[in-house]
Amino acid sequence: MITLTVNGKAHRLDVPEDMPLLWALRDELELPGTKFGCGVAQCGACTVHVDGVAVRSCATPVGSLEAGAKITTIEAIGATAQGKALQKAWLEVDVMQCGYCQAGQIMSAAALLQATPKPIDDDIDAAMEGNLCRCATYKRIREAIKSAAGMALTDTREA
């Protein structure tokens, strides 16, 4: 038996220790907002927070989690101030194309803002580099993060 605390609720699961957190969330706990993109920690679609830190749930076996680790998924990120601001900004900037990567993007962005409330462009590059967007909505993701942080939307990188 594995105990997982997800979005403030404890769950007991009869699953093998090597089951990736991603599949425990999606198929066992019916939280499909976290997405499968590569399975090998290369795309960020599966990003969740473990104790506030962004991790790739596809490469995190449930057995490797510390007892009592607090997991937050996209379904509950709106309950945090940063998460709520990001969701709003994502809609205002109209970031989405297909939208499949965006749960992971928002989770990485939320971890960024929790650590760095006013990120500069280099911070955004560093925090978001692991999140692929195949539709390439990067310009808008950058703007939405700044909007959520209450910053000017201007891209200050070399042009």
Binding site: T34, F36, V40, M96, C98, G99, C135, K139
Partner: protein, 732 residues
């Protein structure tokens, strides 16, 4: 898809005369939010609920191109309802009622812009007719605002929600007969509307194919040979059956049809992870000898040999060979483009349920109707017994025009006797892709007296069963005939086993690169500004329009539209003041594809190690007089530009018929820090609106390559663009 195949249907997709009163428009299975009880239907597209909510159906698959938001905007505009009242639902896959339902070729806009507006206007007409009866006023004295019909003179008014049951009893007018609004009266078209599904997406709601849940379903993986066409010899099925969570393990036999079922082993489990984990224990033996001759190195060597000889003529005029033999100056170049994988962000998946009554399928697909006959054949079930629900796709890029995963899900569900959700791994998605085919080009041009007296392009591309493979067509190219009066376009084919298909801006995504880069080399030989050369070519085309054969690719090409685009781009990009050198470079390119006229300037930076970065791209495009949803349109262009840059970073190579690369660790994609600044401008011209999924992509690749030359002096003739080819040491 060429212009000849583009014939907007005369049928206007409205069940005229049919008004099913009181029918519910309900969403499918898992989409509980879609239930809209008590709504009354007006035709196939619209239902109005007692609370005034207007449900509008979007007829085409959503793959991230924004069609689910955009098509209903057209209907809502002509209906005179407020956008806030609109609820959108994806239509069932039913081409008899909805006409063509696919996402491809940037065709949804040109094919549906007017028909969808006519649907809206016809729906408005019955509602106004009902209002005339209710208010006892003549129709021509009534106006509509935000779903409320007004009689201005008396101040009387009544809402659509109160009129809908009466309107449902009236005969919908023939959509062809209704009058459409003048553009000046638009209140929705031309105003940015955020993606309709976006609130659900940011909240992590289940709306993608991979999120579909059907009661009682199991989960599956399907293990196919890594070499297309290989045969299954044996598999340790009994071992797999005994593993945790596994419910069924069996083999399926391929049909031999390239678009349908291949040999493979299905592993079905209670939860997907069990099937995926069991797969690691699967020992399967394939007879994959068919793959032996299909190596990237062999292809390249073969292409070089073939290119020495004359190929089949695709297009020609005058005598290019004669002009080349007497030219004072000749240039030539050899270009190569690689095979590419589509890798949409959401791996292929599909859910299917097979009962005695038929098959029900939930598919993230770009073309449901193309999958249906394959499912019918593979399962031995009549096509009309197959229901397909179009589910939002996590990207398409042309990959989901193929429905192989749909057939697999249905066949596995049939054999297992339970509903099944099949999910491919990313490694499956790469290994079983219908790749963008690579190609090779030998170019020659003759220069005499400051003019281009010959242009010769010999392409080596791929064939399947003796015919040009999917995505391997080369033209007739739209620009070649404009460059010189003596031209020849030839093609050689190499038979390939590798499945190929259409990748966003098919053919153009490679042809734009090779032709527009070679044109820059010509500009160099002419000692001419490459921007000016392009403008001169367009001027010449306007002065003496070339004869266009009916149905020829690019038959609708109007050079004056490109002229305006180029003029604006020259100013906006500050081309004349731009200074290249010392690792900074500017380059220009243009391309006409999918009815869109695009020209782009790229600014790049290359360091001493050859690491390159696109700093900024200026984009000017003409897609007609109306930008229907400006935010969505800009998003498509931004995405196309960055996607094009991303295509310059990766390749798929083959070893004995199998793809060498397998996942994102060896398929680099464009990432956040590499995304350039983009300056976008739409040049409005008096033409009908056309699509934006593709045409902004082809020019960016050559614009970047030409900028690289300006920065480094290195001509880019081969992709992917590797730093070692641009390093200080490599520059001569």
């Amino acid at each position: 898809m060429d212009d000849a195949s583009f014939k907007p249907s005369r049928r206007l997709f409205l069940a005229s005369g049919m008004a099913a009163s009181g029918a519910l428009v309900v969403g499918f299975g898992f989409d509980a939010v879609a239930a809209n009880e008590g709504a009354t239907r007006l035709g196939d597209y619209v239902a109005i609920a007692p609370d005034g909510t207007v449900t509008i159906r979007a007829k085409n698959p959503e793959i991230g191109q924004g069609i689910k938001t955009m098509l209903p905007m057209l209907i809502a505009e002509e209906m005179d309802v407020a956008w806030e009242q609109v609820r959108i639902e994806t239509a069932p896959a039913d081409e008899k009622r909805f006409g063509a339902q696919f996402a491809g070729g940037s065709m949804s806009t040109p094919m549906n812009y007017e028909p969808m507006r006519r649907v809206g206007a016809a729906t408005r007409a019955v509602l106004v007719e009902a209002a005339a009866a209710a208010l006892k006023k003549p129709v021509n004295e009534l106006t509509v605002e935000a779903g409320v019909v007004h009689h201005k003179a008396t101040g009387a008014s009544i809402g659509y929600r109160k009129l809908v049951s009466a309107a449902a009893k009236l005969k919908l007018p023939d959509p062809a007969s209704v009058t459409l609004k003048p553009d000046s009266a638009f209140t929705i078209i031309g105003k940015s509307k955020g993606g309709y599904d976006s609130p659900a997406i940011v909240a992590g709601k289940p709306i993608f194919g991979i999120d579909v849940v059907v009661p009682g379903m199991k989960y599956a993986v399907f293990v196919k040979p890594p070499v297309y066409g290989a045969k299954l010899k044996s598999a340790n099925i009994d071992v797999i059956k005994a593993l945790k969570g596994i419910t069924h393990v069996f083999t399926l036999q391929g049909s031999g049809d390239f678009h349908s079922l291949q040999d493979g082993v299905a592993i079905v489990a209670d939860k997907w992870w069990y099937a995926r984990a069991a797969r690691d224990q699967l020992e399967v033996v394939w007879d994959d000898a068919v793959g032996a001759p299909h190596d990237s190195a062999t292809y390249a060597a073969k292409a070089k040999e073939l290119a020495k000889t004359k190929g089949a003529s695709v297009a020609s005029n005058g005598d290019a060979d004669a002009a080349l033999s007497k030219a004072t100056k000749k240039i030539e170049a050899w270009f190569e483009t690689p095979f590419l994988a589509h890798v949409p962000m959401e791996p292929q998946n599909c859910t299917a349920k097979v009962t005695a009554d038929g098959v029900e399928i939930w598919a993230p697909t770009q073309a449901p109707a193309w999958g249906r006959p394959h499912v019918a054949k593979a399962l031995g079930i009549a096509e009309d017994k197959i229901t397909i629900h179009m589910i939002r796709c996590g990207g398409g890029f042309g990959r989901r025009l193929e429905n192989d995963y749909m057939v697999e899900a249905a066949a596995i569900a049939q054999k297992a006797g339970v509903p099944v959700k099949l999910i491919w791994t990313r490694e499956d998605d790469v290994a079983y892709d219908y790749f963008r085919p690579g190609n090779y080009h030998r170019f020659e041009a003759a220069i005499d007296g400051g003019k281009i007296t010959a242009y010769k392009a010999r392409a080596v591309t791929f064939a399947r069963d003796g015919k040009v493979a999917q995505g391997a067509g080369i033209g007739p190219h739209d620009f070649v005939p404009l460059i010189s009066e003596n031209y020849a376009l030839e093609q050689h084919l190499i038979e390939t086993l590798i499945p190929t298909g259409y990748l966003r801006a098919p053919s153009s995504n490679a042809l734009g690169f090779v032709h527009e880069c070679f044109l820059d080399e010509i500009a160099g030989a002419l000692n001419k500004d490459p921007f000016t050369l392009r403008q001169e070519i367009v001027e010449a085309a306007i002065a003496s329009p070339r004869p266009v054969k009916d149905g020829e690719r690019g038959a609708s090409y109007q050079p004056k539209r490109l002229k305006a685009v180029l003029e604006t781009l020259r100013t906006r990009s500050g081309w004349d003041a731009a200074k290249s050198g010392n690792g900074i470079g500017y380059g220009v390119a243009t391309y006409f594809s999918h009815r869109g006229y695009f020209a782009e300037v790229a600014k790049v930076k290359v360091d001493d190690d050859g690491n390159w970065k696109v700093l900024k791209v200026w984009v000017v495009g003409d897609v007609g007089r109306t930008i229907i949803n400006p935010t969505g349109a800009a998003n498509q262009v931004e995405g196309s530009v960055m996607d094009g840059i991303g295509e310059m970073m990766s390749e798929i190579t083959f070893d004995k018929g199998r793809a060498v690369q397998s996942n994102f660790q060896d398929i680099p994609m464009i990432r956040m820090s590499q995304a350039p600044h983009i300056d976008l401008h739409f040049e409005l011209s008096d033409n009908g609106p056309t699509g934006l999924g593709e045409p902004a992509l082809p020019p960016v690749i050559p614009a970047v390559c030409n900028a690289i030359f300006a920065a480094t002096g290195v001509r880019v003739r081969k992709l992917p663009l590797l730093p070692e080819t641009l390093s200080k040491a490599a520059r001569t």
